[in-house]
Every structure is written in C-alpha cells, then in structure tokens.
C-alpha cells in the first residue's frame, strides 16, 4: 500500500509528472494521439485538426486571460492578423508555409503587444472594451484594405508543402497541427514553472504586491500579450494553411467569445483546461448536428430549428458551467483523479 509520495531531490519534487499514475496517463495520451490518425476516418481527422488549432488558440488566450488576468475580447482579431499575414505572404509572395507561419506569429505578437498597451491603465471590464476595440479595428482594416487583404473577398492560399510532400490531406496536416500542439503545450507548461509564469500569475492575484516584489508590471503585462498573441497568431496561420482560404467572417467577435467560452468551460489558468475546453466547444456543435440527424426521421422539424438549438445550447452550457463548476472541466477532471487516488477510502 502506498502511504504517500516521497521525493528525495528537488529535481524530482519539481518534475511535471511526479507520480506513476501521471506518467502512465501521459503515455496513454501520446500513444492515442500517435495511433489515432491511422484508425480514424477522414471526418474524424478533420475534427481532430480543428480541435488541434483550437487548442493552440485556447492555450494562447488562457495565458493572457486565465493566468495573467487580462481579459481580452480581441482573440478573433489577433487570429485574423495571423491568418492574413500567413496567407498573404504565402499566396502573394510565394513564401513557404512554415516561414510565413513564423512571420505571422511574430507579427501577431507585435500587434497584440501594441493593443496590450491600454492594459497598463485599464483592468477588468474596461480592458475588455479596449480589446474589443482591437477586434473591431483589425477587422475593419482587413475588410477595407482591399489591395493587401483582398477585402471582403476570400484569399486563396496554396497547399503547404513539407520535404516535397504536399500537405493537402487531413492525415498529413494532422501531424503538423498536433506536432505544434505538442510543442506549444510543453512551452506553456514550462513557462508556468519559471519566474515568467509566476510573474504573470502574481499580476493576476495581486498586482501591487507583484510590483513590490520586483515584477515590472509594464514589461510583464506586455510580455503576456506578446506570448499570448504569438500563439493566437499561430492558430490563425494554421487556419489559413489548413483551410487554404482566408475570409474575414472566420474572425469576427463571435470567435472571440467562443474562445473565451472555451477557456471558461475548460478552466481558467490551466493548460489541461485549455485542451478540454477547446475539444468540448469544437465538438459540441458537431455532436448536436449528428444528434439532430439521428432524430430527424421521428422529428422532421428538427432541420429548421437545429441552428437555433445549437446557439441555445452554447449559452446554456456556459451558464450551467458558471453555476455548477466555475472552475471548469479541469476541476471535474481533478475531482475524478482525486476520487480514484483515494479509492476505496474516498472520504
């Protein structure tokens, strides 16, 4: 019988995976992700790619909102910056997709940092409105600067290529998306083990105390915007290369709200939560559509009301989470783990 977890070095005590159960779980997840594309059909792979991109975007937003406490409604706008930068560079200037993706990340980080400047004076709701302005301004520029972005018309992006292989199938793109998800996850988890991440959390919990501890609020708030926007830009660039088409409709304020919903439902200030929330919010509409199809024969009316049902469910789910588990899916997952760790003495 295990009586506790004992570590004999600080190195082991500070490791990310400290118990056997944790190590086994991560191996299972990785094996699943590696095997999945060989077993899944094309439809499931499409969903997997969408989830992967959403996970990157959600981790990015969570760094800013969940960890640093700077509410942002500019997610859609920042994704647009990433998508359009990558799309334009590849479509118009023939830059390889990976290079345009990297440039897109840095461009978005820069734009995000600029729109993060108001955060030095504004907090909470006021900052939310300021970032909403970012969203509106960026989309306005995108739709009106026709010479560069193509305006309201769609921008067509050629298929990405890697080592001479066209990445034009969901199967091929899966490895790109989830490879990047892996890198982003490791980077994000590491970030919050070091003084950078701790400074972010410190700003969220007590900004005055943080400044007295030597945290430069100016620098670290902007850094949070930069790091967050970098990842959001990556999600945007991936969207461009994956869809082969960039349109402004994909980056409206609805997207900002959707991503906020992801991290609230998943769990603010948690990388695992970003995963769970992104997966849940991407698959929920799909699930509802399939459910609608299944009951179509008995309820022929369902076709016409399905879009409304989806909208209503979206709102309902958020409300239910806020009431019953404000800490999100991540907390539920923790509770399940705790239950089994203490089982059968779970009291």
């Amino acid at each position: 019988m295990i009586s506790g977890i004992f570590h004999t070095t600080y190195e082991k005590d500070m490791a990310l995976r400290r118990t056997h159960a944790q190590k086994i779980r991560i191996v299972i997840v990785i094996v699943f992700l590696l095997v999945f594309p060989f077993l899944a059909n094309r439809y499931a792979l499409t969903l997997a790619n969408q989830v992967g991109i959403a996970v990157i975007g959600a981790i990015g937003l969570n760094i800013l909102v969940g960890y640093t406490g700077q509410i942002s409604l500019g997610q859609g706008g920042f994704m647009a910056v990433g998508a359009y930068t990558a799309g334009i560079l590849t479509a118009r200037f023939g830059m390889p997709w990976w290079a345009s993706t990297i440039v897109a990340c840095f461009t978005t980080a820069l734009i995000g940092t600029i729109f993060g400047i108001p955060s030095l004076r504004l907090k909470g709701l006021y900052l939310a409105i300021a970032t909403l302005a970012a969203q509106v301004i960026i989309l306005w520029v995108v739709t009106h600067w026709s010479a560069l972005t193509g305006g309201v018309d769609a921008l067509v992006v050629p298929d990405p290529k890697l080592f001479g292989i066209k990445i034009n199938t969901d199967f091929n793109f899966y490895w790109v998306t989830w490879g990047l998800v892996g890198i982003v996850t490791i980077a994000a988890v590491n970030l919050f083990r070091t003084h950078f991440g701790r400074a972010f959390i410190a700003i969220r919990d007590q900004d005055i105390a943080a400044s007295v501890m030597g945290v430069d609020l100016f620098k670290y708030k902007l850094l949070a915007f930069a790091v967050s926007s970098f990842l959001v830009g990556l999600a945007g660039a991936l969207t461009a290369h994956y869809r082969n088409i960039v349109t402004w409709e994909r980056f409206t304020v609805d997207v900002s709200v959707l991503y906020l919903a992801m991290i609230i439902i998943g769990g603010l200030g948690s990388v695992t939560g970003s995963y769970l929330g992104a997966t849940f919010m991407t698959l929920l509409p799909v699930l509802l559509t399939n459910l609608g199809r299944a009951v179509k024969t008995s309820f022929p009316l369902i076709d016409s009301i399905l879009p409304f049902v989806q909208q209503a469910m979206f709102g309902l789910v958020i409300i239910l989470f806020l009431i019953f588990e404000p800490e999100g899916l991540n907390k539920i997952w923790k509770n399940i783990k705790d239950y089994f760790r203490l089982w059968p003495f779970s009291y």
């Binding site: 500070m14 070091t194 919990d205 005055i208 501890m213 850094l223």
Partner: protein
C-alpha cells in the same frame, strides 16, 4: 539546530550602524488631506526600527512612499547600498531591485499559488534565465530553478512552515498566511525589510513566534527591519529605536526608554495632562506571561 544558509539572507554591503535609508522632509498629500508633514527619518544598517502612532498617523503611508507605491509631493528618500540611490520617484519594481522588501498590513499574497510558489515569486529579482530557456526549461533554467528552490527551502525552515509548503495560500489560516508573507519578503534576500503590522490579529503565542523570526533574521543575518506594530509590549522588547508619528508628523524618535518617557508621545496616546502611561503596563504584562 540552525542550518547554515547557502547564501546570506542579507544582500547589503554597508557596515552595521551606518545610514541605510534617509528620509528628508517628506510631504505627502491626498488632495486636501495631508498624510505626511515634513517627516525626517534615518534607518541604520542592521537595526530594528519601529514606527508607532495612533491609527491614521501616516505609518503605512510612509512605508508606501519608501516602496514607491506613493510618490510624495516634497522631500527626498535616499537609499544606500553600494552607493546612494534617490528612490523618491522610482517605480516599485525598481526599488525592489535595490533590495527593499516589504509585507502588507492586509495580506496581499498570491492567493492561488502554493506557499512555495509565493516564496519563489518573492525571489523573482534574482532569476535571470531568458524567456526562451524558460520555455525549454531543461538545462540552464532548471539548474537556476533548483538552486533557488534550495534557497527558498532554507527560508521555509527558518519560518517553520515545512508542513504547508505545498498548500495553496488561500486555504491557510490567517496566522500562517502572515508568516508566508514574511517568507515571501525574505525570499527577495532584502537588505531592508519593511513589515507592516506583521502581528496584527494574532494571539500571544503566534506573536511570540513572529517576534522570534524577526529577531532571528535581524541578529543572524543582519537584515535591517522597519516595523509598524501596535502591540507596545512587542515594540518595546524588540526594537532598537522607535519613531512616533501623529497626524502625519514625527513627534519623537529614540530608544524605547527615551520614547517611553517622551511627553509628546504620552500626550498623543492619552491626551494632555496625564501621568499614566500605557506602555509600562503592557510591558510588564508581557514579561509576566
């Protein structure tokens, strides 16, 4: 048994007794309200200076001026470590980097972090690994981190909070939170430690513990301490010198015995024309327990 520290808690280079902080004719107004009027004060290396005074006398305002949260309208604050720094207009994080740490009257810990993370956050100014190496973690960042962990563990030992190091701060009792906050300030390896009512709301035993920690830090590591405290027994026992504020003015300064005998102080605390003084009573009461 006391373990030796890996590196001293005290980052100051100047000799004990020399002036470490000099406050010159400080004036602080909030609109029409004057919080501090012409305050002069000197803090010397390795002493414990207590600031006392009735509620609203401007004690916390003075600390806030020193740590850069308030900017005074007039006057200067000069801090000496390797050389003289004028900190009057500096921002809080710049002042922190010079080695001035503080705790707050109302606990201002990072509630969602563990005690350990709070202490590590306190060591923020000593962590230098770059963003990229932090994202990779493996290698230099990890080495730096383990070294800081070792250091922070010494503070955990000193404050006797081993059992709660992995607990989230928000779930701890008031007394332990206060203790963790002192730990966070110590993790900065300060040369000057400002403590704003570290014993407020504690019972006698908890107060004794905190007083012991303060004396340990001061005597073993020579850290200069500026202390705001209302418990006169503790103040008289612990401090080397005392400064008394009343309505924003410094009305007395000196050793505990001098302050105890000072007419202005007696008037401030008890009103005019009285020969009864509360400090003596408090002190004997404290010794008797």
């Amino acid at each position: 048994m006391q373990r030796g520290f890996i590196s001293g808690l005290n980052s100051s280079h100047i000799k004990p007794g020399e002036t470490q902080l000099r406050i010159e004719s400080l004036q602080l107004n909030f609109g029409g309200v004057t919080a501090l009027i012409d305050v002069d004060l000197e803090v010397r290396q390795s002493e414990i200076l207590a600031i006392i005074g009735p509620n609203g006398a401007g004690k916390t305002s003075l600390l806030n001026c020193i740590s850069g949260l308030y900017h005074p309208q007039r006057g200067r604050i000069v801090y000496v470590n390797d050389r003289e720094h004028e900190v009057t207009r500096m921002r809080p994080h710049q002042i922190a980097r010079l080695g001035i740490a503080r705790s707050f009257q109302n606990i201002e810990l990072f509630r969602h972090m563990t005690v350990l993370d709070n202490l590590l956050a306190g060591a923020h100014i000593h962590m230098n690994s770059s963003l990229l190496s932090s994202l990779i973690y493996w290698g230099p960042a990890q080495r730096e981190h383990i070294q800081h962990r070792r250091y922070v563990e010494d503070i955990i030992d000193l404050l006797e909070i081993e059992a709660i190091r992995h607990n989230t701060v928000g779930s701890l009792s008031y007394g332990l939170q206060k203790r963790a906050e002192i730990g966070r300030a110590l993790a900065m390896r300060p040369s000057l430690l400002l403590l704003d009512e570290p014993m407020a709301g504690m019972n006698a035993e908890e107060k004794e513990d905190i007083a012991r920690f303060i004396l340990d830090v001061n005597e073993e590591h020579g850290v200069t301490i500026v202390l705001i405290e209302h418990d006169m027994g503790v103040v008289m026992d612990v401090s080397d010198r005392i400064a008394v504020l009343n309505f924003g003015q410094k009305i007395a300064e000196g050793t505990p015995d001098e302050v105890r005998a000072n007419r202005h102080v007696i008037e401030a605390y008890l009103g005019e024309d009285t020969s009864v003084f509360p400090f003596k009573f408090n002190k004997s009461n404290n010794n008797g327990s």
